[in-house]
């Protein structure tokens, strides 16, 4: 059962929300556990070719992790398994110590309330206002209207859209629409922020701006998993790197340079 945000909730960005029914409630030790653990995860969309194979990954609380790799390497699928767009075919995924790979359909919404998700195509509702697009996450939690107004205002200020709540989202530029999507993702102060190629539709300068915004969100305590294949972004920020290739994690290391150093000779020999 999900908690709802109320007036009395402390403004704690690391607040945990239970997404299981009460009989599966945690033992209170989840705060000490890694926020995400993937163990021998496989996902097949075609019977003979796994899209993801034997993924083993641990993401600690407060980390900023880049997931990268060429197109088709499985970056989006990896994130989709976390927010349960698809179930895993084998292995398990622990979120705050709880196995989400076996969640029932009815429990999936309560998992997603603990996550913020940002997409390449923004997924904002174009005819809604900026306020409506941002407030929707809080409305789902049943937050009262006064608190919704104050939190949305604070979040819009945080993403650089202060005072623009009444504008229709379709009238904004691509970069601004992505900021609306980010505002919607962080307004509930989720435990984990997933970004699936969030700069894919933006020009390089806007991409850097958006990455900077994610880093600010991370600096405030949110765990961020950022999928991208944009090397310029990877080079501009020294965060942990998870490299996927043909559905396998081929590197899970800190910094682009180590990965680049290992991948370049291979790329050269391939070329």
């Amino acid at each position: 059962m999900a908690n709802s945000v109320s007036d009395s909730d402390p403004p704690n960005p690391r607040r945990q929300v239970s997404f299981f029914r009460s009989k599966h409630a945690g033992d209170g030790t989840s705060v000490r556990k890694p926020i995400l653990v993937m163990e021998e995860v496989y996902k097949y969309f075609r019977r003979d070719v796994p899209t993801l194979r034997n993924i083993n990954l641990v993401i600690e609380r407060g980390e900023f992790v880049f997931v990268t790799g060429p197109s088709g390497s499985g970056k989006s699928t990896l994130l989709q398994l976390i927010y349960r767009q698809h179930p895993v075919d084998s292995g398990r995924i622990l979120f705050s110590g709880r196995d989400i790979s076996r969640l029932t359909d009815r429990s999936i919404p309560f998992l997603r309330r603990n996550l913020g998700i940002v997409f390449q195509d923004f997924k904002v509702v174009p005819h809604w206002t900026v306020f409506e697009n941002t407030a929707v996450s809080l409305e789902i939690l049943g937050t009262n209207a006064r608190l919704v107004r104050s939190r949305v205002a604070a979040t819009l200020e945080r993403v650089g859209l202060a005072g623009r709540g009444n504008e229709r989202t379709e009238n904004l530029s691509g970069g601004e629409q992505q900021r609306v999507a980010i505002a919607r993702a962080i307004v509930t102060e989720p435990a984990l922020l997933l970004a699936d190629e969030p700069t894919g539709n933006l020009d390089p300068q806007l991409a850097i701006d958006i990455l900077t915004l994610f880093e600010e969100i991370h600096a405030a305590g949110t765990t961020v998993v950022f999928a991208t294949h944009d090397h310029s972004l990877l080079q501009s920020a020294p965060h942990r790197l998870v490299v996927l290739d043909e559905g396998r994690v081929i590197e899970a290391t800190h910094g682009l340079r180590a990965w680049a150093a290992r991948s370049e000779p291979r790329t050269a020999s391939n070329g």
Binding site: R106, S137, E139, I140, G142, R184
Partner: protein, 293 residues
């Protein structure tokens, strides 16, 4: 789930698909008007049947050649009977005049022959008079030489009740058809609304909305559509009723003995509630397959 958000989102839905909802409501108004007209007819016919079945009245038509002494003797006999409360002699001229007054036909009746309005004795029976006693009295009165015919309205009432039962069956069938129509119109409208708000549903589900959260504003929209259409139909029907009441009420009450009435508050309340329930069911039914994101 906060009901205010459900209303806010339903309002947003109406705002976004206004023309779609207006067309749907207009279609439903026509359906509810048909149903309301049928119910109005059945309710008034039922009142007429009830009035006639409870009226303890005999009309004794006199022969044209009946003498005054015979009529006077007949009156004496009738007034001595325990079942009879009042006897009134209506002459042929009085009957013509009375009909002209009640129907406002005036000079247009001058062409009608004298025998169109036979003289009669109008007999009012006591309310406690048993039906079989009335039948026996009718038979006895027919044997008097001055009597042409006796009308106790029983056979006519039987035919009228048969007609009324047919009307009720037709109204029931019409109600079912209207409900099917409501489900179909609302179902299709909501399906179109879901298609045009696909992105919205996707966003809601990715933000952690449950199916019931996604579904509830659409269901509310269905309820509002059906109840609005039914309310508009009632208002139009009332306007039509008031117009008809002004023009045909006198004639109708002269012919039937019962004034026209509008649908009872109970019938209106049941119709509105049924419309709301069917609207909710129609939209919920149409949403079943469209929530997968």
């Amino acid at each position: 789930m906060d009901i205010r958000f459900v209303f806010a989102r339903a309002k947003r839905g109406f705002r976004d698909d206004l023309s779609l909802h207006v067309v749907a409501i207009a279609s439903l108004v026509v359906a509810f008007l048909c149903l309301g007209t049928a119910l109005l007819g059945v309710e008034n016919l039922t009142r007429i049947a009830d009035r006639w079945s409870h009226s303890q009245h005999l009309t004794l038509y006199l022969r044209d050649d009946a003498r005054e002494t015979e009529v006077a003797q007949l009156r004496l006999v009738l007034e001595s009977l325990g079942e009879v409360r009042k006897v009134e002699h209506i002459t042929s001229e009085a009957a013509r005049k009375l009909f002209a007054e009640q129907t406002h036909m005036g000079n247009s009746m001058s062409d009608l022959p004298t025998e169109a309005f036979p003289a009669s004795l109008e007999i009012e029976l006591r309310p406690e008079a048993a039906s079989d006693r009335v039948n026996k009295l009718t038979e006895r009165l027919r044997r008097f030489s001055a009597v042409e015919d006796v009308e106790n309205y029983r056979s006519f009432l039987g035919q009228f009740r048969g007609l009324l039962d047919t009307g009720r069956s037709a109204a029931l069938l019409l109600s079912l058809l209207v409900m099917v129509c409501v489900v179909a119109v609302i179902g299709n409208t909501i399906r179109l609304a879901v298609a045009s708000r696909r992105r919205e549903i996707e966003v809601l589900k990715l933000c952690g909305a449950t199916d019931s959260f996604v579904r509830s504003p659409f269901v509310l929209e269905g309820v509002i559509q059906a109840v609005s259409a039914a309310s508009i139909a009632v208002v139009i029907l009332l306007a039509g009723y008031l117009f008809a009441h002004q023009h045909i009420e006198t004639t109708l009450s002269a012919l039937t003995g019962v004034g026209m009435t509008f649908l009872s508050p109970w019938t209106i309340a049941v119709t509105l509630v049924a419309a709301g329930v069917v609207g909710a069911l129609g939209s919920a039914w149409s949403l079943r397959r469209y929530l997968q994101v």
